[in-house]
């Protein structure tokens, strides 16, 4: 029993750490440019397909990862911002949120058209550590380590470097950031590029577990969205806590209950938090200026 609990906990934390990556990007986009990206889950699937595609050409995985990074930065970062976010945000963030839902549908159907509806396997890592009673798989441990390292690095970048602080300042008070000579537009663009990098990393980590399928983004997006809400929508640290909570709860529910519970957990947590603690675990209440 202890062995099973440890294993479920570690794989829950691993999944949760991936959600944390995705939710962090989600939350950064919201803070940096009032973008609620309902296509965030699909943003994870796109680089996964790029990696598979490059691999299909017989090239090694790292080439695929590089290609996916470039495609993500250009398409999910730059193009997404210029073509969808910038024009739509002028009409309001709700209008933009709806446009991202449309984008989600476009991405899914585009992928279905190009790649078909099957779930493609993705190379992962086999084996694990066997301590008799407790078996921990390498896949989960490495995912956990990489995701934690990435989130830590991002937090150090945001908190300790001049550019990172300027990004935070631009998100928290853009008008004043301008007065201090910060190039706010550039900081927002960097935020979109960070998000593109985060979803690419998430794609690399989650695909061996969930496989690669055109509509995987629905579940991933819902989980990441819930993670951001549960942790605190307006805080990067919140997204991390929310992701871990969600990953562990989901995995426990799926292990000890019927399998469908996995999908119900994010929805359930989302509803409970929106009802009883809308600011999330770490979040603060938004000030609304009239």
């Amino acid at each position: 029993m202890v062995g099973l609990l440890a294993q479920v906990l570690v794989s829950g934390l691993a999944i949760g750490a991936i959600y944390a990556l995705i939710a962090t990007g989600f939350s950064l986009l919201w803070q940096g440019s009032q973008t609620v990206n309902f296509a965030q889950g699909d943003f994870v699937v796109v680089p996964a397909f790029v990696m598979l595609g490059v691999r299909g050409l017989g090239l090694p995985l790292w080439v695929g990862v590089l290609a996916a990074l470039v495609v993500s930065a250009l398409v999910l970062g730059l193009l997404f911002k210029r073509v969808l976010v910038d024009p739509m945000l002028k009409h309001g963030s709700l209008q933009l949120a709806i446009a991202t839902m449309a984008l989600s549908i476009v991405i899914q159907n585009g992928l279905l058209d190009v790649a078909g509806g099957e779930a493609f396997p993705f190379p992962g890592i086999n084996g694990g550590i066997d301590w008799g009673q407790i078996f921990l798989d390498w896949q989960s441990l490495i995912v956990l380590a990489v995701a934690v390292a990435a989130v830590t690095a991002l937090n150090l970048f945001l908190g300790r470097t001049r550019t990172g602080r300027a990004i935070q300042a631009s998100a928290q008070n853009p008008q004043v950031a301008v007065l201090l000579g910060i190039d706010v537009a550039r900081m927002i663009l960097i935020t979109f590029l960070i998000n593109a990098a985060l979803v690419t990393l998430a794609a690399l980590l989650i695909s061996p577990i969930y496989l690669v399928k055109f509509n995987n983004g629905i579940g991933i997006g819902l989980s990441a969205f819930s993670a951001a809400i549960v942790g605190g929508f307006n805080q990067v640290r919140g997204a991390v806590v929310g992701g871990l909570v969600l990953g562990v709860t989901e995995t426990f529910a799926a292990t000890f209950g019927p399998d469908q519970w996995r999908d119900a957990v994010p929805m359930l947590l989302l509803i409970l938090f929106v009802l009883f603690r809308p600011e999330g675990i770490l979040g603060r209440r938004e000030e609304r200026r009239v």
């Binding site: 908190g159 470097t161 001049r162 602080r165 300027a166 935070q168 300042a169 928290q172 008070n173 008008q175 004043v176 950031a177 301008v178 007065l179 201090l180 000579g181 910060i182 805080q235 603060r284």
Partner: protein, 246 residues
């Protein structure tokens, strides 16, 4: 004090506004060095707009702005900071989630690396002991008055010659207003020129050297603060002489 008689800032017949709406209709005045100059006037007179015009945030349709004799009309905030101007706008201007120290460091973000700013941040913390006590706290946990001091301290990181400060007393307790005003007087003593807009016109003029009265985007009156305070028309129109309670 050995005074350079040339003004630090000159607005010369400045016109401009937002979109098609003109707010400044030929606003002209000069700001003296190492002095406090307060702009007063009714709502909509263009007081804050003047500041935005100086700080390159308003598209001007005419006129010139001279800083230290150099034409800075239409210069971007970054260039103005480098030239020695800082702008503390009305309301809350802190970065709430960042620490007090990080907020201060951002005051010099346009000028150099975080490392280069560190001694200046330390100097600012020495100057404002209350901020040193709270240096690692999130700025949002400061009181309103402390936040205003933080904004002023942040402005000082770039070692400005001229500080534009808009309604510093708004929303502060009388005690805090006193402290903020005392801080501005301290800055003047160290040679910083201050141009202030203040709703609380009487108190502001009492610590000022000069006053400027704006009305409908034009300069109505300029003079020493004393002369403005004593002017019966000004008193009736802007200083609430008829409804004076104290």
């Amino acid at each position: 004090m050995a005074t350079d008689p040339s003004p630090i800032l000159v607005l010369d017949n400045v016109t401009g506004g937002y979109g098609r709406m003109t707010i400044l209709n030929g606003c002209s005045f000069a700001v003296a060095r190492a002095a406090i100059t307060t702009v007063i006037g009714p709502n909509g007179a263009g007081k804050s707009t003047c500041f935005k015009a100086v700080f390159g945030l308003l598209r001007l349709t005419g006129g010139r702005i001279l800083l230290d004799g150099t034409d800075v009309t239409g210069a971007a905030p970054r260039a103005l900071i480098a030239a020695g101007v800082c702008y503390v706008p009305q309301g809350r201007n802190i970065f709430p989630e960042l620490s007090v120290r990080d907020n201060l460091e951002l005051g010099g973000v346009a000028l150099g690396s975080a490392g280069a700013m560190r001694p200046k941040v330390e100097a600012a913390l020495d100057r404002f002991p209350i901020l040193r006590q709270r240096a690692s706290s999130q700025a949002s946990t400061l009181s309103g008055g402390q936040q205003k001091l933080l904004e002023i301290a942040r402005g000082l990181i770039a070692a400005p010659k001229l500080m534009l400060i808009d309604e510093p007393s708004i929303g502060l307790s009388p005690l805090m207003v006193k402290e903020v005003f005392a801080t501005l007087q301290g800055l003047r003593a160290s040679g910083v020129s201050i141009l202030m807009v203040e709703q609380n016109a009487r108190s502001a003029l009492e610590i000022s050297d000069f006053g400027i009265v704006l009305e409908t985007g034009r300069t109505r009156l300029t003079g020493t603060a004393r002369a403005i305070l004593d002017d019966p028309r000004v008193a009736r129109l802007f200083l609430g002489a008829d409804v004076e309670l104290d």
